[in-house]
Every structure is written in C-alpha cells, then in structure tokens.
C-alpha cells in the first residue's frame, strides 16, 4: 500500500489527468494520422490500404519538394536574422538602466498581437493602392515601387518571413535578456580589469554563460519552423505560384481542398519524423554532456 502513497506515486496522480487529456487530444489522433498515411482516405468514406503509395507520390511531387525547400529557407532565416537582432538588442539593453522596460515592452509588443492582426497591419502597409509606398509615390517619392511584396513570387516567402520574424524576435530579446541577467556581474568586472572590449565581453563572457538558453532558442526555432502555417496562410496562402508554400500549407491544401487526407497524413508523418529527429539530436548532445 505504501507504494501507492509514496511521494513519487502522488506526483503521478497529479500528472495522470493531464496525460489522459494529452493522450486523447494529441497522442491518439497522432497515432491515427500515422496509420492514415498508408491509406487513400478522402476524409469522408471508405479507407483503403495503399501501402507506401502516398510516399512514392510525395517524393515525385514537385510542389512538396518546393515546400520542403521553403521550410529549409524559413528555418535558416529564423536561425540567423531574429537571433542576431535579438542577441544584439538584448546585450545593448542590459547596459541601459533608464527606460529599459519601455524598450522591452516595445520589442515584445508584436509577440502579443494575434497573427491575423500582425498580418493585416503589414498587408495594409504594403497595399498597392492605399499602402505606404503608394502614398510615397503620390508625393513624388518613387524609389519604393507600389507593389505588395506578398504578391511577387521572388519576394513572397521573405516578406512573410519578415512579418513572422517581426512578431517573433521580441520574444527572443526577452529570453536572452533574462539569461544575461543571470550572469555574475563579477565576471564582467574581471573582464574590465583585463581591459576587455564590449564585444570581447559579449563573446567570451555573455555568450558562453547564456549557452543553455541560446541552444534552447535554436531548438525551438528549428522545431517551430516545421509546422509554420498561420502567417503564410493569412498573407499568401502559399502563393503566388507556390512561391511561399510550406509543408503545413501543402498539407492543409491536400487535406481540405483536395480531400486527399491519406496523402496529407503522409506529409504530416514526414514532418513528425523530422521533428523527432531534431529532438533526438538535442537529446544525444545533452547525454554527451552539452549544457543545453
């Protein structure tokens, strides 16, 4: 009996309701989705087993390949631009004592906005008839063409990534700045005595000491970049001409426009495998003693 009332068991009792809900809402549908990838289900009727046919078709699908490539670009963009900006700003902000909260609030504010609002703001800013470039053009300033970058195939993916990045980078600033405040001040004092420059202090003191948070941010960016959907869907729906199509929009379109639920489950399965792979890498690194 004592086993049931041990400290460890009591913790399990608290976790069980959450686990049960998680199983019903996440685990079970995920498992079913994994099974569906081997079928030709259209979301309505009979389910036929088709083996690996969906995967063969998928590897032959030029728009799926395009979506994979766009997800890679997306991940790369988010691993560079927002991180570089956030690190720089967070580091600079630690040196500001007056009005620091105001800056933090300003940077973090877009993160609090619903994606639909952020998207509408930027859509309107670049509106070809009523947006900022159109207004500037009407005033004789025409170095920015009055064309929405969301509607040009060469720029659409980057334009959407910019809006998503604009909303996201403030979040990174906040977590980096929190990490930077954990760094012992005596280390900076020692560096000052050694005559270190601001950059050297950042490179040799700050960065190594916020490494767990930094690696964590890299991990969440890689994982969150896989199912990215809302900004792309609201701003371009993956267009024009699939130029901003990502895996999640491709999956959605297959499932809900074309009624190819089995096929879209195959896309979901690949996304799932990739995510497990990334999480495993970080798990292995942690086992190897990395402080992450």
């Amino acid at each position: 009996m004592s086993v049931f009332f041990s400290k460890n068991s009591i913790a399990w009792y608290f976790i069980i309701p959450v686990l049960a809900i998680h199983f019903m809402v996440v685990a079970l549908p995920s498992l079913l989705s994994l099974a569906l990838c081997l079928t030709d289900w259209n979301g309505f009727g009979k389910i036929n087993y088709v083996g690996l046919e969906n995967f063969y078709e998928l590897f032959d699908d030029r728009y799926f390949k395009k979506a994979v490539w766009h997800n890679i670009i997306w991940t790369f963009l988010f691993l560079t631009v927002p991180i570089a900006l956030a690190l720089t700003c967070a580091y600079l902000l630690t040196g500001i004592t007056k009005g620091q909260m105001l800056f933090r609030l300003c940077f973090f504010f877009p993160y609090m906005l619903a994606s639909i609002i952020s998207c509408q703001i930027w859509k309107f800013i670049f509106h070809p008839l009523y947006g900022l470039p159109a207004w500037l053009n009407s005033k004789g300033i025409d170095f920015i063409p009055a064309v929405s970058p969301f509607t040009v195939k060469e720029t659409s993916l980057y334009a959407v990534a910019f809006v998503d990045g604009w909303h996201f980078w403030g979040f990174l600033v906040v977590i980096y700045i929190t990490g930077m405040y954990q760094v012992d001040n005596s280390l900076y004092e020692a560096a000052d005595i050694e005559g270190a420059t601001k950059f050297q202090k950042f490179r040799f003191v700050t960065l190594p000491l916020i490494r767990p948070i930094f690696i964590f941010s890299i991990m969440i960016i890689i994982i969150w970049s896989i199912p990215t959907f809302d900004y792309v869907w609201i701003l371009t729906q993956g267009g024009p001409a699939y130029s901003s199509e990502v895996l999640a929009t491709n999956l959605y379109s297959q499932a809900f426009d074309r009624f190819n639920v089995g096929y879209s489950s195959a896309i979901g399965t690949l996304m799932f495998i990739y995510t497990i792979f990334i999480v495993s890498i970080f798990g292995v690194l942690r086992k190897l003693g990395w402080e992450i």
């Binding site: 309505f44 009727g45 379109s253 809900f256």
Partner: protein, 452 residues
C-alpha cells in the same frame, strides 16, 4: 403516531399521488400527441444574411404549420464542423455544402439520404430548373437540391462608357479594342482581385474556357469525349495568360490582382479606377450598394464570345450552395417537408432573394418577369429574364466549382498561378490537368453533368 392519523394522511397522500399520476399521464400523452418534430438546419453564418433567413424563412415556415419546428443554426466555418459532425453520425437534419464536389464525397460515404422518393412525391423535378436538378443526381438518385444559383457576368460603368463613346464588347477583337481604349484613358480594364479568396482565378479560367473553346467542347471534355490538352483549351488558357500577365487587364497588373480583395475591387470599380469588372452575380448586392451614392450608373453584359466566328453568348451554370438530408437524420420526412416549403413558395424565395439583390438565395425555380417585384433593380431583373431565356435555349456553359471534381477543381486555380508566373507552359499545365481528370474518372469521382 395515532393509527387514524396515519390512515388519514395515507388517504390524503393517495389522493395527491393519484392526481399527480393522472396529470403526468395526461402531459405525456399530450406531449407525444401535440409535440412538434424539430428539424435542424445548419448554415454558414453571415451578419447580413442570418436575420433575413430567420425572419423570412424559419419564422415563416414555423408559422405556416403546427407539426414541424424548424431551427436554423448559423455556424462559423461550417464545412469543417459539419464534416466532423457527419462522420460521427451527428449533425443537422438539413445539410448545406458549398457545392456538388462536397455532395459527392458525402454521398459516396453514405452520409446523405437519397431524396429520390421525396422528389417524386413532391414533384421537385418539375419545380427546379433542369440543369440544377441534374447537378444533384448521383448514381441515378436525387441527393442534393440547389440553395442558390449564380453565373459569371461582365459589369461595366455605363455612364463612363457613354461619356467615352465606348461600346460593350461582344467579340474578341472588340474586347481587346475596348480594353486598349480604356487603358489609353488611364484606367484599369477590369477591377478584380484574389486576396482573401485564392480560388478567384477559377472564375476567369471558367469564363475563358467556355468563351474561347465553347461550351460544347467543355461539355465533351467533362464527359470524356475530348481531352483538356486539345488546342481549344490550351488556346483559352494562353489567351487568359496573355490578358492577365502581358496586358494587365485585371487591376493593372498580376501583382495588383493578387493584392486586391472584395472591398478593394468594388471600390475601384465604383470610383472609376476600372471601367469593367468580371465577377459572379453574387456581386449584385455589393455593386448596387456601391453605386447608390454616386452619379454613375452600372450595367452588365454577358462575357464576350472569344472564339472565331462568334456565337450567342452563354451563361455559365453554377450552384452556390446545396441542401441535402443527413443520412443519420431521425426526421427525414419533416426535413423534406421543409425543403418542399422552399421549392413550393416562389414568393418567399423571391422576397428573400430581393433582399440580397438576387446575389443570394436564388433558388433555381421557374421565374417569370411578372414574378419579380419592382424593388429589384432593373439590371438584376434583366439578368434573371435573360438567364432563363438563354439557358432555356441551351446557351449555357460550365463553371469549374460546380462541374469539376475536387482534385482537378483545385488544380485549375491553384496551378494557374504557376502558369502566370511563367514556371510552367500552358501545355504542361493542361497535360497535368488531363492527368487529374483521368485519375478522377478512374476513381469514379466525376460530378453529374446533365445531357446537353
């Protein structure tokens, strides 16, 4: 306690219990005898539309009889909610879908009841326009009735045309000539855009396919007697590509067309930013409202015939929404009574449709000119009469969202952007399109097309 008191109380209690028992039996009897059968109907919510449906359809039906209580529930994102409910054996008695491709999926999955018996009983085939009735016949039985029909037309600013001495084009050469004149006058040829509704491209694709290749050829391709790779069809898509990309007919450029939404292009049309607008008849309400406070007058014309030799213009047939009876409905007879109320009350249909300037709830019944009330704008009235006359003579074409199966139906608009981007040739695009049709045909996914 005294024995007598117990007997007395017991006697009183027995009397009370008897009264309660008799009342309960009576209430149960009266409930089962006089209770109304409830019929539920889910519809996509819309702030302007919902009160009209409630007042002029639901309340009118409930007031018309004492046996059935119609309850209309307005839902956000109806398609997704409905599918989940239907798959779990739930959902409303009357099921609305956005078009025949959805009906096909539900019907194949056994989620809809055949309405063949009700159709024979109430004579629906005689009440509905033949093409619209045929679009609801799957595997030889009637499964879905149209809630509204629509077609593609070309709107133009009549005042502007008169001021400039332009005439409404009816042939390809007139069309391109008028477009050149409009552009020379510093305006956009057409106001239109796809932001917020990417499938907008299929409106244009359908118009060009029917107008350039001709409805007869489109019909042959639908039933498999022609291939989509035939020159009539590739020519149509190439002409659309030229007009869209090279000539910038719609909103000035392809990029602007992608960037403009419903409010933008209506504003552009009403403010002389464009001289014309290619759109479906669902615009009537918005266009009438947009021109209400300005001195310009709008009018409409059928889309020009773009093929050599010309011909009578034809109207593309399209169903906006369909109505069916849920396969798991416990009250299919009552649900059929509701549908029959709609098809048998032309007055109510006309009254509701008039509230939307015939952009919504235009149930395809046989309308005569006298049926249409004076409050309806003359342009709309003319459309209703012309449409009935032309389609009655067989001058009709086919919209992609009513006659194309799901996969090719998405391909026609989604991959059209790839053609416009220059990433794929028109021939390759139509080759892919044909492949999708072959696959759909093999899987038995084709939608009903009445004999021409």
């Amino acid at each position: 306690m005294d024995k007598n008191i117990i007997i007395l109380l017991g006697g009183k209690m027995t009397k009370k219990l008897f009264i309660v028992f008799i009342s309960s039996i009576f209430s149960l009897f009266s409930y089962s005898t006089f209770a109304k059968t409830t019929v539920t109907w889910w519809a996509e919510t819309n702030a302007d539309r919902d009160p009209v449906f409630q007042a002029k359809l639901v309340d009118a039906f409930n007031a018309s009889q004492n046996e059935i209580e119609l309850v209309m529930e307005f839902k956000e994102g109806l398609n997704d909610i409905l599918r989940t409910a239907m798959l779990s054996g739930e959902g409303p008695d009357i099921v609305e879908t956005p078009g025949p491709s959805y009906v096909k999926e539900y019907q194949e999955a056994g989620l809809l009841q055949s309405m063949e018996g009700y159709s024979s009983q109430f004579g629906w085939e005689d009440k509905l326009l033949p093409w619209s009735y045929q679009a609801g016949v799957f595997d030889g039985e009637f499964y879905s009735a149209p809630k509204t029909f629509e077609t593609m037309i070309m709107l133009y600013n009549k005042t502007l045309f008169e001021e400039n001495g332009w005439s409404v084009p009816t042939t390809l050469s007139e069309y391109e000539d008028t477009a050149a004149k409009i552009k020379a006058a510093g305006m956009n040829v057409f106001a239109y855009g796809s932001t917020g509704w990417q499938p907008t491209h299929e409106h244009l694709a359908g118009m060009y396919l029917n107008s350039y290749a001709g409805p007869d050829n489109v019909y042959k391709a639908l039933i498999g007697e022609k291939e989509w790779t035939d020159p009539e069809f590739t020519g149509a898509i190439e002409l659309l590509r030229k007009h869209m990309v090279d000539d910038g007919y719609w909103s000035g450029s392809l990029e602007n067309y992608y960037a403009l939404g419903w409010d933008d292009f209506h504003a552009m049309f009403a403010s002389r930013g464009a001289a014309m607008m290619t759109i479906g008849t669902w615009t009537f309400g918005a266009t009438t409202a947009g021109f209400a406070d300005i001195s310009d007058e709008w009018d409409w014309a059928p889309f020009p015939v773009l093929r050599d030799g010309g011909d009578d213009p034809s109207y593309l047939l399209a169903l906006g929404t369909t109505m069916s009876i849920n396969g798991s409905s416990e009250n299919p007879d009552a649900a059929a009574e509701v549908l029959n109320f709609v098809f048998s009350n032309k007055e109510i249909v006309l009254d509701m449709a008039a509230d939307f300037q015939f952009g919504e709830f235009v149930v395809p019944l046989y309308f005569a000119e006298d049926d249409i009330r004076d409050s309806v704008s003359p342009q709309v009235k003319r459309y209703l009469v012309d449409f009935a006359e032309a389609t009655g003579k067989g001058n009709y074409g086919y919209t992609t969202w009513t006659f194309w199966p799901a996969d090719p139906g998405v391909h026609i608009w989604k991959d059209m952007e790839v053609v416009w981007a220059g990433d794929i040739s028109v021939e390759d695009y139509m080759y892919d399109h044909q492949k999708m049709w072959d696959k759909a045909r093999k899987k038995g996914q084709l939608l009903p097309v009445g004999a021409r």
